[in-house]
């Protein structure tokens, strides 16, 4: 259900790591919780993000959610498409609707993230709480 090649966070972000670049987005679970997404606030290329700190927000009609970075590094790219058409977060959260790309400063940070199976189990656990 959740793409195997991605890693996941407790705050419902995902990251795909290619060499030293990480592509970050929010998960299908997150977009479902938020509802119809209307706006995304992202940093600029060149900005710095830090692991476990907020780098932006995702807004639906009735809710706002902070987005937390799984890693530390410099923002190399932001997804212009998701900025102009935030609704793609509802339809393709793991692919087309990626949010930012980051050059990792410390690859070891991804070791504490969850695999797709761990993440699925984590969501199930939260549901039954």
């Amino acid at each position: 259900m959740y793409p195997q090649e991605l890693l996941y966070t407790k705050e419902h972000e995902w990251i795909r790591v290619d060499e030293s670049i990480g592509t970050i987005g929010i998960t299908d679970h997150a977009q479902k919780e938020l509802g119809d997404i209307v706006f995304v606030e992202l940093p600029k290329a060149g900005d710095h993000v830090a692991a476990n700190e907020s780098f932006g927000t995702v807004e639906s009609v009735k809710a706002v959610s902070e987005i937390y970075s799984p890693v530390t590094g410099e923002v190399t790219a932001i997804n212009a498409k998701v900025q102009s058409s935030p609704e793609i977060l509802n339809t393709d959260p793991h692919g087309d609707a990626w949010l930012i790309r980051v050059r990792l400063t410390d690859r070891r940070e991804i070791e504490s993230l969850m695999t797709a199976d761990d993440y699925e189990a984590y969501i199930q656990e939260k549901k039954s709480e």
Binding site: D36, I37, F39, E59, V61, P86
Partner: protein, 495 residues
């Protein structure tokens, strides 16, 4: 012929144009008396740089067009005058007509705020007397009518706390707020320069004393509390709560939004509150007006009086009233002039109409009405907290959610039965909340109708949830696409 009849719709359902779309050049709705002094060339007197020829796009309609347009618009609203308006925490009670008449009296509606005091004694008297009555009702020692709304009252109150603690040597860093609080609470605290720490409620939905104890460090300036809380439940441990906060050198702020449950029964000063605000547009019948104006007076204990916004209205030596601007410890101004004077007039008229007995009876009816509704619905909707309700009761949509129907959907279907919905999705500590505050302005007959309507909706959810999900069916428009409205906002008319 049949086609034409099918196309016709009565005005209440027809799309009403925007006033700009009904414009026709050359029309005007007002005629001015002739100018009795020489006209002046605006271009010459202001200079070309400043002169404006016209306001593009401004409407041009007749007086009749304006009357019809806004009359038709009004028919698409539901007001307290229309029927039961059970919005929890808003206190949608009757707005007495005499209030509107006295507020419009010449002299009261027309005095300029900078009128010399000797000529403004009537207005000053009203401000003074209203403040005195509110002090009496809350048990506090001084009241400022300057804050324009509840949220401003909160800001004022927190700034007062800050000023007091700063004078004692340390304004401190945190304000504690229960997770059940209204959104304005944390927002107001932040503007005052404090950091907010949320406290979890206990199983009864009330402040958890142990949690409070843990959270109360000597960097906590105070606790912001609503009593009864946003579940409509009285904080029975309020004395212990207040004592605990005071023992650690903090102050207790009370959000007075729910005073409709307390007036004439108990007084916040008696249970340890140091500073609080009132909502005149809730408890004191000033009209909601479609979203304002309101008024959020602040009431304080004697030791906090010096910090009130400036000026204060006081007795003058000659028996009249005066404005006192000599307030060295004031937190400053939160609004121009003296606050929403027109709202004070209305609130005072309400207090005068009732007297103590009337106010007490009002509170009793409000609490009785809420308890009656609760009793008659508790077999149909889930009651997340068992504690006794005061002026409002809160259900959750848990049972109905199992059929895929949430509180907002139930609310929309309730509209078809001729009622304004209750408050949906607040407080946040209840999942899928239905917050119902009938107020005293509901007869048993209306309450019965309301209860029957909700019971019927619950039945519909059992039988055909899809039907309920597409409600309302009987309104001028159906559900609006809020997502698109937020993605691509259109916030003004353009030609």
């Amino acid at each position: 012929m049949e086609n034409r009849i099918r196309n016709a719709r009565p005005h209440v359902t027809r799309n009403e144009d925007l006033i700009f779309e009904r414009t026709s050049p050359g029309k005007s709705g007002v005629e001015l008396p002739p100018l009795d002094v020489p006209a002046v060339s605006a271009e010459e007197s202001l200079g070309r740089e400043f002169f404006r020829a016209d306001v593009d796009g401004f409407p041009e309609v007749s007086e009749l067009d304006v009357i019809r347009h806004f009359t038709r618009l009004s028919t698409w609203n539901y007001g307290v005058d229309t029927g039961l308006y059970p919005l929890g925490s808003c206190t949608m009670k009757y707005n007495p007509r005499v209030n509107e008449v006295v507020a419009r009296l010449e002299g009261l509606a027309t005095d300029h705020p900078y009128t010399p005091e000797s000529l403004a004694q009537g207005c000053l008297r009203i401000l003074h007397e209203t403040a005195r009555c509110l002090a009496e009702i809350t048990g506090m020692d001084a009241v400022s009518l300057q804050p324009a709304a509840g949220a401003q009252g909160e800001l004022t109150g927190i700034l007062i706390i800050r000023a007091c603690l700063a004078e004692r040597g340390n304004p401190r860093k945190y304000i504690l707020i229960p997770d059940s609080a209204h959104g304005t609470n944390p927002a107001s605290a932040t503007i005052s320069g404090y950091e907010v720490k949320n406290i979890k409620s206990n199983a009864q939905g009330c402040v958890d004393l142990a949690e409070l104890d843990r959270a109360l460090t000597d960097e906590v300036a105070g606790l912001m509390l609503t009593n009864p809380n946003t579940l409509g439940v009285f904080e029975t441990q309020i004395r212990e709560i207040a004592d605990l906060v005071h023992a650690r050198g903090g102050l207790v702020y009370m959000d007075g939004a729910n005073m409709n449950a307390l007036v004439g029964i108990t007084r916040p000063a008696d249970f340890g509150v140091d500073v609080m605000h009132l909502n005149l547009h809730k408890t004191f019948t000033t009209p909601h007006g479609g979203g304002g104006p309101g008024s959020g007076p602040v009431a304080v204990r004697k030791f906090l009086e010096p910090y009130l916004p400036t000026p204060t209205v006081e007795n003058a030596a000659d028996g009249g009233y005066r404005l006192n601007f000599d307030r060295p410890k004031t937190i400053g101004r939160v609004r121009s002039f003296y606050g929403n004077f027109g709202m004070a007039v209305r609130a005072l008229a309400y207090i005068l109409a009732n007297g103590f007995d009337g106010l007490k009876q009002t509170t009793e009816d409000a609490v009785l009405n809420a308890n009656y509704v609760r009793k008659r619905l508790e077999d149909v909707f889930e009651l997340p907290y068992n504690a006794p309700s005061m002026h409002e009761c809160v259900f959750s949509d848990k049972r109905q959610a199992a059929r895929g129907v949430r509180t907002m959907d139930i609310a929309k279907r309730l509209i078809d039965y001729g009622f304004h919905p209750y408050t949906t999705a607040f407080p946040l500590i209840v999942s899928g909340a239905l917050m119902i505050e009938p107020t005293e302005s509901a007869s048993k007959t209306e309450l019965d109708e309301f209860v029957e309507a909700l019971r019927s909706v619950a039945q519909e959810i059992e039988e055909d949830p899809q039907f309920v999900l597409k409600a309302p069916y009987t309104t001028r428009i159906t559900r609006l696409d809020e997502a698109t409205a937020a993605r691509k906002p259109i916030l003004r008319w353009k030609p």
